[in-house]
């Protein structure tokens, strides 16, 4: 059993695992109907994007999908297709707010701004703490081995109940 976990075997398992999984990931669907449809909402009230409405013979998704295909067949660009849908059904037909206008732009950027502000604040806090902490004495070869041992023990320590 121990041999099973030898380095060479582990490498082999990993490679086989990757090879088994990756062919399934090879072909991403680039169908424009699907891409655009996943940016539009079905208006039947199912609350799902157009390509995922699961209503049998849905009175909305079936004609909307046909409409989408017609627009694409007419040679419209993605932007033109989305504009045509907004004009007909209102801005609620878009599955996500367009990146336009102060409110919508703020909505898109706010989560990332919160993340960046949080990261900056945290790094600032940790650096400030570090600068107020006394510097450790320079370590010799012997003490660094002790440091390493202590570090390992601390690393492996988990408080118990």
């Amino acid at each position: 059993m121990r041999n099973l976990f030898r380095k060479d075997n582990l490498r082999l398992f990993f490679l086989v695992g990757v090879l088994l999984l990756t062919p399934a990931l090879g072909a991403a669907d680039t169908d424009r109907t699907k891409t655009l449809g996943s940016n539009l909402m079905c208006i039947c009230g199912c609350g799902q994007v157009l390509t995922e409405c699961n209503h049998i013979h849905c009175p909305s998704s079936v004609p909307m999908t046909a409409e989408l295909k017609d627009h694409l067949a007419a040679g419209m660009t993605d932007k033109q297709v989305l504009s045509a849908f907004v004009e007909k059904y209102g801005s609620k037909v878009l599955a996500a707010p367009a990146f336009s206008g102060v409110f919508n732009k703020t909505a898109w950027l706010l989560p990332f701004a919160a993340l960046l502000a949080g990261l900056a604040g945290l790094v600032y806090y940790l650096r400030r703490i570090k600068s107020t902490t006394a510097q450790p004495a320079p370590s010799t070869l012997e003490t660094s081995r002790y440091d390493r041992k202590i570090e390992d023990e601390l690393n492996n320590f988990t408080p118990e109940d």
Partner: protein, 683 residues
């Protein structure tokens, strides 16, 4: 019979008030009998609300349609177990169920701690009963499940009536998974009340050490684990029942269940820093308050009608009461927190920027930003309507764009955190711990690129999964190998013993491994393919390297439905691998017919073939309409969920104690893990 339930609720309302008053007065005048009486009253409330829920179950089982709630959510043809699950199928019953679970938790907490934390427990009881009082008020005054069917002229009741049959349960809810999924979610939500109650009691009594943390850690972890299981069961149900090919739609109610889970995850990590270093005391209380508020907020979202959701109940005034309760609870909790800030000073200084405690802080930040973005996205349509008057929709594209990168960053931290030392990680330890996982991650990235994977998020998720997965497997491998060499145990036995001797640590690693598997499953969504087609008997359709051939159609009939299904052969590279039977059913109810899809799924570790039969494609009924999906790696989501749950269970177990002989062996194992002995310093 319903009067028994209604009377039990009324009595529970009175006893709840008594329990709060008795507990608070008892601690004020230091009267143990009063405190014990308050505690007993809390147990009595459990008995009373159990009587109410038992009564409601009886009404469903006996099909007593004199009661409006029973008539609205069941009918005579419903199977017995669905009659039971109908209890939480609507607004009033689900609220009663929530309240009942809360009384169970309360009874367990007060019984478990009847001889412990004597100064804290009266406040714990009061906070738990305070929450219970809100729900009992809802059952009694706003949303009683025991209202009779009444004929009205205008607002005036002119008589009572009993319909011959009920309206039935929504067919989509007639699924065994829906018998388990909602109770799991509710158990998770309600469980968040327990740590909140202890945190408030700690603030009130100024006992802000580790006591409340240690007492509630298992409660929180159990609630968190159950909530996570509930969320995954919901995804499993959606995938196998709804027929749109996916398991997570970023619906507001799904989001509402995710938010307290994210906060709970943050708490379970930051609590370790408080236990070990006496730090983050304020932060932990903030997290507990937020988890509680998010749990109640989730219930509010479902019931207020403030957001548009397929899960939500009809718009009702109940939302206002919930909002008021949330505002009161939050104000009270934060007022207490601010008032007690002087008692919440850190005992030690934070370590270096690159240290384990710092990684916990980063982990908390990411989890909080994730929670914020989910909350913000969920409320965005309402905010847009209120602020700009413009009605917008916020669905998958927004959440995927915002939350997927955040989640990948979180996955990265999941791998990094356990590899860092407490206080300060040295360059050597960083090299030693990171080299192998980083090499494996780089190799994975290169192989994926060579295989043609170009979807950036999916590629990143898989590379990070390789990094984190390797670091976890190495931890198990290193520990178990040392143990195996030192004790002579076989490797599998060494893995088990290693885990059981430090359940919290290795349970945590297992949970992280589950998280990695979840990511592998999620990344498969970037590579789905689907197509709609019409086919008659003998017709074939090809998608990727799969072909489906329709072999026949047949009618089906069940206890409360009729329907039809197709017999479809599934071929891979020309070889038949399965027969699939997608169908559709029509349920007869008082409100007319309701159609549902019966999905056929051929699952494998690499991909699922997901086939939906949408019914006849032409008037002659010669052809059927189908929707087929190829969904790679989905099964890893369910496997990841199981591993995550297993890790949680392991972490909840107490550490296995070793015998003296074993201890000596274990010490030698520790010595072997550390390498050759270090020479004693010359004194």
């Amino acid at each position: 019979m319903g009067q028994v339930g209604q009377f039990a609720i009324a009595l529970a309302f009175v006893v709840t008030i008594y329990s709060i008053a008795s507990s608070l007065l008892g601690i004020r005048i230091k009267n143990d009998k009063l405190i014990a009486s308050g505690r007993n009253a809390a147990v009595a409330v459990f008995v009373l609300i159990s009587t109410a829920i038992g009564t409601l179950a009886y009404l469903f089982l006996t099909s007593d349609y004199a009661y409006a709630y029973v008539a609205a959510h069941s009918n005579r043809n419903l199977q017995t177990y669905f009659k039971i699950s109908s209890i939480w199928g609507g607004q009033e019953g689900s609220l009663l169920f929530w309240g009942w679970l809360l009384t169970i938790y309360t009874a367990l907490v007060v019984i478990q701690n009847r001889r412990r934390h004597m100064s804290m427990m009266p406040y714990v009881t009061s906070v738990l009963m305070g929450t219970s009082l809100f729900f009992t008020s809802m059952h009694l005054f706003v949303a009683s499940p025991f209202k009779m069917n009444a004929a009205q002229v205008g607002t005036k009741i002119v008589g009572l009536f009993t319909p011959a049959d009920g309206q039935g349960l929504n067919p989509l809810l007639q699924d065994p998974m829906m018998v388990i999924h909602p109770p799991m979610l509710y158990l998770g939500f309600v469980g968040m009340v327990v740590p909140f109650a202890f945190a408030m009691a700690a603030l009130i009594t100024r006992q802000l050490g580790d006591t409340w943390i240690r007492t509630t850690r298992r409660w929180t972890m159990a609630a968190w684990g159950i909530l996570g299981t509930g969320i995954l069961l919901g995804g499993f149900w959606a995938y196998h029942t709804l027929g749109w090919g996916g398991y997570w739609a970023w619906d507001p109610v799904e989001n509402a269940s995710l938010m307290p889970w994210l906060i709970g995850t943050a708490f379970l990590h930051s609590v370790m820093v408080q236990e070990k270093k006496g730090m983050l005391k304020v932060w932990n209380i903030v997290l507990v308050i937020m988890a509680y508020i998010m749990a109640v907020f989730g219930t509010f979202l479902t019931r207020s009608g403030v957001v548009n959701s397929v899960h939500a109940f009809a718009k009702s005034p109940i939302g206002g009461y919930f909002l008021a309760f949330i505002v009161i609870a939050m104000s009270g909790a934060f007022y207490l927190l601010v008032d007690r800030l002087p008692y919440l000073k850190n005992e030690k200084q934070m370590g270096a920027v690159v240290s384990r405690e710092s990684s916990f802080l980063f982990n908390n930040l990411i989890l909080l930003v994730a929670c914020f973005s989910v909350l913000f996205g969920t409320m965005l349509p309402s905010l847009s309507d209120w602020i700009t008057g413009n009605k917008i929709t916020v669905s998958k594209p927004f959440f995927n764009a915002v939350d997927v990168p955040i989640a990948i960053f979180l996955l990265f931290l999941t791998g990094v955190g356990p590899l860092l030392a407490w206080r300060k990680a040295s360059t050597n330890s960083l090299k030693r711990n990171f080299m192998v996982p980083t090499a494996v991650a780089c190799a994975t990235g290169a192989v994926l690129l060579l295989m043609g994977v170009r979807h950036f998020y999916a590629w990143s998720a898989l590379v990070m999964s390789a990094f984190v997965g390797t670091s976890i497997i190495r931890e198990f491998y290193k520990g178990a190998r040392a143990r195996s060499l030192g004790t002579g145990e076989g490797f599998p036995e060494a893995v088990v013993n290693l885990t059981m001797r430090n359940t919290r640590r290795y349970g945590g690693y297992l949970a992280h491994l589950g998280f990695v598997l979840l990511f592998i499953g999620w990344s498969g969504q970037a590579f789905t393919a689907d197509s709609e087609f019409n086919a008659g008997i003998g017709d074939s359709f090809q998608i990727r390297n799969f072909t489906v051939r329709v072999d026949g159609f047949e009618a089906v009939k069940g206890q409360n439905y009729t329907g039809d299904r197709a017999n479809v052969g599934l071929y891979k590279d020309g070889v038949k691998i399965a027969n699939m039977y997608p169908g559709r059913r029509t349920y007869e109810g008082a409100e007319g017919e309701q159609a549902t899809s019966e999905i056929a799924i051929r699952e494998s570790l690499r991909e699922d073939i997901y086939l939906v039969f949408q019914g006849a494609a032409d008037n002659a009924g010669q052809k059927g309409a189908f929707h087929i999906y190829v969904n790679p790696l989905v099964v890893w989501v369910w496997i990841g969920g199981v591993v995550l749950g297993l890790g949680t269970i392991v972490a909840l177990l107490p550490n296995r104690k070793s015998t003296p002989a074993k201890r000596r062996k274990d010490q030698s194992v520790e010595a072997m893990k550390e390498g050759p002995p270090i020479a004693k310093p010359v004194s």
